[in-house]
């Protein structure tokens, strides 16, 4: 196995490892949806308001996963 092949292999490994960060985003999204749904169940009047804020919170959580995705892409497609 030459050096180039090793580097290629390590790129895939690195991309895979980078995506571990998505786990945190998943937990975060789950927690925010849990809280929002609990709130909606307790007080259905706040549905619209909670939905907006829930989507906002999901977006912020998801941003972390997206950074992971970006890093994975950078490794996978030899951008830098």
């Amino acid at each position: 196995m030459d050096g180039q092949s090793l580097i290629d292999a390590m790129r895939f490994v690195g991309a895979g490892l980078a995506m571990i960060g998505a786990a945190g985003a998943g937990i975060g999204i789950g927690l925010s949806v849990q809280g929002a749904l609990g709130g909606m169940a307790r007080n259905p009047d706040t549905y619209g308001n909670l939905l907006t804020n829930m989507i906002l919170g999901i977006a912020f959580s998801e941003a972390i996963a997206i950074y992971c995705l970006v890093i994975a892409f950078l490794m996978l497609f030899k951008v830098v």
């Binding site: 619209g48 907006t52 989507i55 906002l56 977006a59 998801e62 941003a63 997206i66 970006v70």
Partner: protein, 331 residues
């Protein structure tokens, strides 16, 4: 009075199509091919059509451009008919019919949402919100039409490629067999525009720029104090400095919005096509499953369009509101 029983014949059509797909999917004539997945849009013509486009380098005819044209034409046609319907109803009884009614129902819901979070700036924010949402929705849903990602031109592969089988005329078909030299790869005619970073990045850029523009229009130059917060710098030096640093972080956060907007949509859509392709290639004969994943893609496309528009709207609404600075300024 005999109550006529409704016979839902459509479900039988769906079932027959699924069985036909199952039979055709992995047989000898139409073997499943593991497609080539690239992040970048494939070039339909390998040579650039403009050598130096606006002084920015070569411009290639990539396969998202036909899709873009189709999307634009579709949207303009829909807008035209909606306009006609709305104009007609404006002159009669204010109740639109047909496509105008559909557009009015969707847009009124979106407008009420905007009004709920932005209040008096709703009229300013609403067009951007609705445009982004409708545009992304169309881009996401068009991608699911059969023929996308599967019919195109064959290029000679640089590395290993697929062997081809002639279907008569100019038409050929890829086979699953891989060859080291002289193989071909497929560049589809149509590729969903949301699976193109140019599209998502352009939307993200427009969105973030318009957030700033609306912030300036709503607050004037006071909007800048969100980023360069020198209000308390001289009164309470320590916390003032901290505010200044937080303001700079806001600047970084604005820049990261571009990244997160662009990659959220792109990531979701790209994951969709990767999932479909891998499942189809791996399962071979059991090609009902990709159909299920296409259904999931429909859902994801809807949600992502909503999230993109919603986030734009919420960020714009936040930009119209002051950063808690007015109370301090009044003292």
């Amino acid at each position: 009075m005999e109550h006529k029983k409704r016979r839902p014949w459509r479900r039988w059509v769906v079932l027959v199509l699924m069985i036909v797909g199952f039979i055709l999917g992995g047989n000898a004539f139409f073997p499943a091919v593991q497609p080539e997945i690239t992040v970048a849009a494939e070039k339909l013509i390998l040579e650039p059509i403009f050598e130096n486009f606006l002084g920015l380098g070569p411009f290639y005819l990539v396969n998202t451009l036909p899709t873009l044209a189709v999307t634009l034409v579709l949207l303009i046609v829909i807008a035209f008919f909606a306009n006609r319907s709305l104009k007609k109803s404006q002159n009669t009884d204010l109740v639109p019919r047909g496509i105008g009614n559909v557009m009015e129902a969707i847009l009124e819901m979106l407008y009420n949402l905007t009004e709920g979070s932005a209040g008096k700036y709703a009229k300013m924010i609403f067009p951007w919100f609705a445009t982004i949402m409708i545009y992304v929705l169309f881009a996401n849903l068009l991608k699911l039409i059969p023929g996308f990602e599967s019919i195109g031109v064959l290029h000679h592969a640089e590395g290993e490629g697929h062997a081809i089988k002639s279907l008569g005329g100019v038409w050929s078909m890829l086979t699953p067999a891989k060859v080291e030299e002289g193989g071909y790869i497929l560049a589809p005619f149509f590729r969903g525009i949301s699976v193109d970073l140019n599209f998502t990045a352009s939307l993200a850029l427009i969105s973030v720029v318009m957030i700033q523009v609306i912030g300036f229009r709503a607050q004037g130059l006071g909007y800048l104090s969100k980023f360069f917060n020198t209000r308390r710098m001289f009164k309470v030096p320590f916390f003032g400095a901290m505010d200044f640093l937080v303001g700079l972080l806001e600047l970084i956060s604005e820049l990261s919005k571009i990244l997160s907007f662009a990659f959220r949509l792109f990531g979701n859509m790209f994951a969709g096509i990767v999932l479909v392709a891998i499942v189809a290639g791996l399962l071979g004969k059991f090609s009902i499953l990709p159909a299920m994943i296409m259904m999931f893609e429909l859902f994801v496309g809807l949600i992502q369009a909503f999230v993109f528009g919603m986030l734009t709207m919420v960020f714009m609404a936040q930009a119209t509101q002051g950063h808690g600075g007015e109370e301090h300024a009044e003292h």
